[in-house]
Symmetry: C2
Subunit: 144 residues, 2 copies
């Protein structure tokens, strides 16, 4: 089981913003901090903005910031959103499912139940619970 | 969250064999049934054989068959095996983890707990619980 890079980057942006000195940052700054693709982050920020998790202010003095308090941002809900179209297996593809067992297989139900339990655990976490990692990372620069 | 193709194919082979008429099949037959890559299936069969889940008999009259009764094949254990090296996110990469938050982040623990619950559900299923899908698929050919 693997989370998409999209989810991975989404959680990284949120954790960065939760501890950003003035509660705000630029996409370039976040991309630089993690050494990840800025183009990819733009898409992440777009989705999180549309879903009311981030606020993106353009122009001078603009930047991205959390649209809600960290304790009001559910990790379960965020991951459900960012995983969105990524299906756990072909069984879940309503359209274009090429598996010969589609509709007759009992695996889909088992996987669906397992996935439900996975998200149930993440529903127990808010961004507040994941905080302070970036602050510590900034204070103790890595060995590079 | 997505299972690897390796896991997907592993479960398909097992479900096929559980209901194969003489309890045995060739890799070509399974690949043909699902219209999936035979080369990929060879690797799947190799791992499942090494782990004592399948038996692979070479030569005339040979083929692949289950090494144990379907009710003795745990879906949780099988998926843990086949997902093997695929990590849920970079946090889990002990070596070559490029994330700036590695070792300071609280996400890994949350994801680890969620993944544990995911597998706990699959541990409740054996191959016996997933049976009869292929038999029904063979009896009711798809609309193609």
């Amino acid at each position: 089981m693997r989370l998409t890079t999209f989810t991975d980057y989404s959680l990284r942006v949120l954790m960065y913003l939760a501890d950003a000195p003035v509660g705000r940052a630029t996409i370039a700054e976040v991309a630089g901090f993690y050494a990840i693709s800025e183009a990819h982050l733009v898409k992440v920020v777009h989705l999180l903005g549309r879903e009311g998790i981030l606020r993106n202010t353009r122009g001078r003095g603009g930047g991205i910031e959390l649209a809600r308090a960290p304790r009001a941002i559910s990790i379960g809900r965020t991951v459900r959103l960012t995983e969105g179209l990524d299906l756990p297996a072909e069984c879940f593809a309503r359209e274009r499912n090429t598996c010969k067992l589609a509709g007759r297989c009992r695996l889909e139900r088992a996987l669906g139940k397992a996935l439900g339990k996975f998200y149930e655990v993440l529903d127990g976490y808010t961004l507040q619970d994941l905080r302070r990692a970036t602050a510590r990372a900034a204070a103790q620069p890595s060995e590079e």
